[in-house]
Every structure is written in structure tokens, then in C-alpha cells.
Assembly symmetry: C2
Homo-oligomer: 426 residues x 2
């Protein structure tokens, strides 16, 4: 497929999605919620078909050289199908973000100014592997009055198309246009830049997946992109921390689910408490199977405490999202040094301080340039569900428009509504 | 200058701006306001220097083949210098957008979730001609705790550098780092894409100027861009309009200042009232010097009323931002047809309905996909000052992050602050 052909395919699909978006934008909330509930029912009814189509993808997994972990993520078990359906119902149960007034006031000349939330229009999502993203992303777009164009990975194509077919049944049942959910059914790579350049047709692109995919989309795009990069999260143990709390949070942030973006990758310990705190927590971490990579100060302290032969941490280790039971460790002189370390090596995702000092917490919150800052809580709470957003499209590592966990409201924009009584400008 | 050299220059400047941004982000509001007031004083004190430097630009205007209108926009008169200073003071007087809480609530598990406004970091502005943009953009960035990197047009380089020097005096006087305001002092074109690709250093690019400039920046950018395209604004006279109000708004929207982006370019008249309304308003518009370009239905009506030889409107006319005393005119069957016309030919900038019908106004507001929708008010009110924002960085024609007039608050993002009492995830 050449560029021109790709552009034409995207223009046709996006043109239809755009028409559907116009209908969705003026549909009542109860109709969109009815559609979401009908989608959930259709997903449940389609279980056998979904699993048959899913088997076709799994049968081809060798062809795509998928690892066992990837095949596992791909598989649509009974439980995962039920979870998809339940997520759609929980999205339906949320408050409608569309039509909410953000600000409203009168000007001295009597003009009434209002900012009111409206859907974005057409949202493009480009993702890999897990087929449930198809239902989650479509559900959040539908809730927020947007049509969506979904481009999943080629390894999940049959599964994604089968899920989309079920979602379209749900839309039909609620009398909404099926083009509101469009899955791009060709794996051709030329379609990605074409989608990211569909100015006037697609309003936003959300790439989810590996760094390479996200960078490629950002580079090609002429329409807005919200990027979802990885998380290199820190836990900083302040001199004024409660030691038991510090230990519990450090262990939880690293070990509770090490393969996800809000797990901790670096532990920073204030020099003032390093000698007392580090050996204890290091022993617990090692017991939990964690490999520590230590800067020289922390190595010395651990060595003096009888924990010898700790691996040294390189500059690179402090930049790495291990996504495994590996943890970089450093001793920092004070809170300012901790903030500097985080802003230098971090990924602006989620960073935590453990402290009993109000002013230390304030300084950390103000100084750390991250989308989520935790005070006396594990980094693992950085998540749309934990923040009460229901589902999430992802965790934005961008600063523009939406930052951190993105829910349905983040898929809306606003409109200025200005009401006069024949006002003219003089 | 090759790509590599451009990248190095931008990296150096942006790196310094970034350090300044970290200081600004934690500076108190009163210090940023003191700096803004000191900047205003420095601009006033520097009047002679500003005018000498401005003369150098004007002396080179032939070299750059500037039109008389462009030379006029470039000129720093006493009045314009005073206006720049006064704008900085009015920005200082606004409520501080930094640190405002957008949302705050407790989760059932006792976690406290808060969304709090924080600066973006480093904001890049790429613009043409008018030197006052240097002071306005820098002032809004300073108010919102951001450092700015300004890249003006080569034709205004001396003026922009002189303004920036005055602003830096103001920053120094308030003990803030001068790198918070950085004007790029080379006209080399390679610097624009380098700036738009400075990931991790520049957080946002705002291009202001002609469509060509904006498209080029959007195409090159890998960091977020908020585009400020032109306005093709409509006034729709609904069947239920008060005729006198309709006439007054149509005339004001077209004639009060035809060269700006919120002036009307197309008049849509409902078929039900076209015969009674059109001939009267057309006579007034022609009297005011407006050239009408009419679709066949409006031509017929005007011709029957004795206004013959009206120019025909082409498809292109309905897409054109005339920025002059030219107005496209069309008769539409009903409100739905008006909305369709606006969504097809418009630029999603500002569109108005004149009507006494509440339900017609509601349908228009919901159906028109524009950043500002006016009900019984002239499109000319679409402006940061008129909306009470103080100054504006521009009028965003994008949907993401900020839509319509952009003030200081739109130059902020937010941070999630999560406070627990030792919360870990289970």
C-alpha cells in the first residue's frame, strides 16, 4: 500500500466516523449509556465467537514470533471476556462528562460567558497486543460522545474485529451509528502515519505500547498526540519518615506487581537515615527476590552492615524502567538532592516521598515535575481506577490536555458559549 | 546552519530556560507579579532605546519587502510602548493560576486525591511581525510560572531583542532568573524545526502567524503544538430572529473591524425570512462599503428587490477568510442546513446565531463544532479581553488542551497529589 492509498482508506473511514461523531455529540447521555450496556450484553453473548476468532490469532502467534507472555496477554479467557463486559457497564454508570459547565460568569456589559464540555470528535487509538483495549477505549470514547478509530496490533486482528463487531451490535441496539466504533482491519504500516496526519478528520491520536511505536507516531503526526510512555518511578525516604511505613511502602512499590508502569524502579534514601534504614529494608527486599543495584554510598552502608557484594548502579540503571524485580538504590544528601535526582533521571510519571514532615512533603510536591506525586502512599496507586475515574485510556506522560490517568472526561474539550441580548462591539 | 548546529543552539538555550523554569515554578505569586510590574517599568524606561532599535528594523523593511501595512504593524509608537507596559501590569493584577485546586476528594480507602495547577515548564512561541507579542507572550508565561523561548520574525529582530532586554531587567529587579525570557536572536530557519523537536526541553510550541508557518511547525513538531489558524466566522439569521437585532449584529460582525480573525465572512439567512430580511440588510451592508458574494437564492431575492448584479458566490468564497469588506451570503433551508454549512465550510473559530427561540439557540449551540458559539451577540466578542482573561496568547483553533482565547491559565497543566497514611496496594 502506498501513501496515497493509505490516505484514501483513512479518509473514507474517518469521514464515516466523523458523521457518527456528529450524531453522538448531540445524543443524550441516557442513549450513550444504553449503548454501553447493550455493548456489554453483546460481548457476553458473543463469547463463543470471540474465543473462536481469538484462537485464529493464537494459531498465528508463532508466525509473529510472540513470546509466551505475549500469547498470554492475547488470550480471551472467560474471565477476561466477563471483565470487558463489566468494564463497559461501569463506564455506563459514571457521571456524564458531556455538557458539564466548567466556568460561567457575566461580563460587566451583560454578556454571559460559559465554558461547557463537549466531545472531541474522532479519537484514534493505536495499540499493541491486549484485545481488551479495543473494548475499553471504545467504551470511554462512547461515554464521552466521541467516535473512535482503533488500530490494534496485527497479532490480535481477529480478536479485535470480533470485539468491534459485538460493540457495533450494541450501538445498533441503542440506535446509534455503528461507525462510532471503527477498527482498521488492515495491518499495513502505511496506515499509521496516514491516521496521524488526518487533519480535520481525526482530532486526537493516543498511541499505547512500546517507546518505538509512540515515538514513530509522534514524529509522523500533524494532529495532536497524547503520549503514554513508560514509568521510571521513585520512592524517596525522607529523614523524617516513619521507618516502618517507609519499609512497607518501598516493598509494596517495588514488589506488589513489578511488571507495570507504576512500580518503583529506584529507591532514594536520605543520608541522615541511610545507615539505620537501608540495611533493614535491603534485607527485606532481597528476601522478596529483588536484585539491588547500589550507588557507592549505599554499597558501603550495606557492606558495613554485612550485606556484601551488592551490584553497583550505573548511570543507565537510574534511567531504566526495569519492569522486573530489580531496584536501583542511591543515598541522597537531602530533599533537594532527591528532587534533583528524580527530575534528572525520572520519567515524570509517579514519584513518592515518605515523611512525617509537612514542610518536606510540600517542598517535594512542589519540586518534583511528575504527573503524580505520592505522599506516604505507594506509587502503585497511580491508576485511573484507584483515582476513581472508572476505566482509563492510559496514563499520559504528556503535560498538555491530560496528565496522568486519563478517563472519559479527558476525552472531551470545551466550547465557549456567549449569550447576549443583541450585543455589538463598539 | 545545519540541523545539528541548530539542535545544539536550541539545546543550550532551552537547557538554561528549563533551569529558570524550575525556579519560577516554585517562586511565589507575589514575586512573579513583582517581576511583571518591574518589566512594565523597564519597558517604559527603555522607550528611547526601543524606538532606536525599532528604527533599525524599519530601515531594513524594504530589504524584506514589507508592505506598508506590515511596516505599520512593526512600528513602536509611544502609544504602543505604553500599551505593552500597561498589559504587563494588567497581567500582574490577575488571579494567580498556579496552585489552584481543580478537583480534590477522598477515596473510600482514605487516600486524598487532588489535582492542582502547575506551570507547563518551557513554552515556545513562534510568531511574525508585531513586536508587542514579545511582551504579551512573555508576560503571560511569567504569570503562569513558565519560562518562554520566543522566536519572532527576522523583520522585527532588533525590536524584539530590545523588548526582551527590558523584560530581563524586570526579572533581575525581582530576583528571578533572566533566562526565563529568551529571545532566539538568529533568523536561521533551521532553528524552527529544532525548537519543535526539543523533546524533554520545550513543553509546548505555539505558532502564531500565517497558515504556512503554522502548518510547517505542526509538520516538524514532535512536541505538542497549539495551532492558531484563521477564522472563517458565520452569522446565521434564524427564522425567529428579531430583525433589528439581526441587522445590527450582521453589520457589526462584518464591518466593525474587518481585518481580524473574529470578523464575519459569511451571512446565512433562513429561507423563511430571507425575502423580508435580506434586501434591507444588504442595502445597509452595501452602504457600509461591503461587497456581497451571493448564492443563487440570495441573488434572486436581492434582484427581485431591485438590488441587481450581485456577484455570485463560488464554493471557494464560502471557505475564504476575506479579512476585508467582502461577505459571502447564502440562504439556508433551516437551522440544520445552517449548522451543516458552518461545519462544512467554517474554521471552528466563532459562529453566531440570532434568534429569539430558546430551542433554536440550544440546537445551534449543540450542533456547531466551533470553539466559540455566540447567541444574539456579534462574533467580534470572541477575544480574551472580552471574555475577561486579561491578555491572550492567541485564539486556539485546536481542540486539545485549550480552545478559543488562551490566557495564563491555559499555559498551566496539573499535577495529581495523592496523600496517604502509609497506604500500600494489596
Amino acid at each position: 500500500m502506498d501513501e496515497q492509498q493509505a490516505r484514501e482508506i483513512i479518509e473514507t473511514l474517518a469521514g464515516e466516523a466523523r458523521k457518527a461523531a456528529a450524531t453522538l455529540a448531540t445524543a443524550r447521555g441516557e442513549q450513550r449509556d444504553a449503548a454501553l450496556n447493550a455493548c456489554a450484553a453483546a460481548i457476553r453473548n458473543a463469547r463463543d465467537t470471540l474465543q473462536q476468532e481469538n484462537e485464529k490469532d493464537i494459531a498465528r502467534s508463532e508466525e509473529f514470533a510472540l513470546t509466551e507472555a505475549m500469547v498470554d496477554r492475547l488470550r480471551l479467557t472467560d474471565e477476561r471476556i466477563e471483565k470487558m463486559a463489566a468494564a463497559l457497564e461501569s463506564i455506563a454508570a459514571q457521571v456524564d462528562p458531556v455538557g458539564r459547565t466548567i466556568a460561567a460568569y457575566n461580563r460587566p456589559n451583560g454578556l454571559r460567558i460559559e465554558k461547557r464540555r463537549v466531545p472531541l470528535g474522532v479519537v484514534g487509538v493505536i495499540y499493541e497486543s491486549r484485545p481488551n483495549v479495543t473494548a475499553d477505549a471504545a467504551g470511554l470514547c462512547l461515554k464521552s460522545g466521541n467516535a473512535c478509530m482503533l488500530r490494534g496490533g496485527k497479532e490480535a486482528m481477529h480478536s479485535n474485529l470480533a470485539i468491534a463487531a459485538a460493540l457495533r451490535q450494541g450501538l445498533s441496539a441503542a440506535d446509534l451509528p455503528v461507525e462510532a466504533v471503527t477498527v482498521i482491519d488492515s495491518p499495513d504500516r502505511a496506515l499509521v502515519p496516514a491516521m496521524a496526519q488526518a487533519e480535520g478528520l481525526v482530532d486526537l491520536i493516543i498511541p499505547r505500547g512500546g517507546g518505538g511505536l509512540i515515538r514513530a507516531v509522534a514524529r509522523a503526526a500533524t494532529i495532536p498526540v497524547i503520549k503514554h510512555y513508560a514509568g521510571n518511578c521513585h520512592v524517596y525516604i525522607h529523614a523524617g519518615a516513619d521507618p516502618a511505613m517507609a519499609e512497607s511502602i518501598a516493598l509494596n512499590a517495588k514488589c506488589q506487581r513489578p511488571g507495570v508502569c507504576n512500580a518503583a524502579e529506584t529507591l532514594l534514601v536520605d543520608a541522615a537515615v541511610a545507615e539505620s534504614f537501608l540495611p533493614r529494608v535491603a534485607a527485606k527486599l532481597i528476601e522478596a527476590g529483588v536484585e539491588l543495584r547500589c550507588d557507592s554510598a549505599s554499597r558501603d552502608i550495606l557492606s558495613a552492615a554485612g550485606l556484601e557484594d551488592m551490584a553497583g548502579a550505573t548511570e543507565d540503571d537510574f534511567r531504566t524502567e526495569f519492569l522486573s524485580l530489580t531496584l536501583a538504590v542511591a543515598v541522597v544528601d537531602d530533599l533537594s538532592a532527591a528532587v534533583r535526582h528524580i527530575n534528572t533521571y525520572g520519567s515524570t510519571h509517579t514519584d513518592a516521598i515518605v515523611t512525617e514532615s509537612v514542610s518536606a512533603a510540600d517542598r517535594f510536591v512542589a519540586g518534583v515535575d511528575s504527573s503524580s506525586v505520592m505522599v506516604n502512599a505507594s506509587t502503585r496507586f497511580s491508576d485511573g481506577g484507584e483515582y476513581g475515574l472508572g476505566a482509563e485510556v492510559g496514563i499520559s506522560t504528556d503535560k498538555l490536555h491530560a496528565r496522568g490517568p486519563m478517563g472519559a472526561e479527558d476525552l472531551t474539550t470545551y466550547k465557549w458559549i456567549v449569550t447576549g441580548q443583541g450585543h455589538i462591539r463598539t
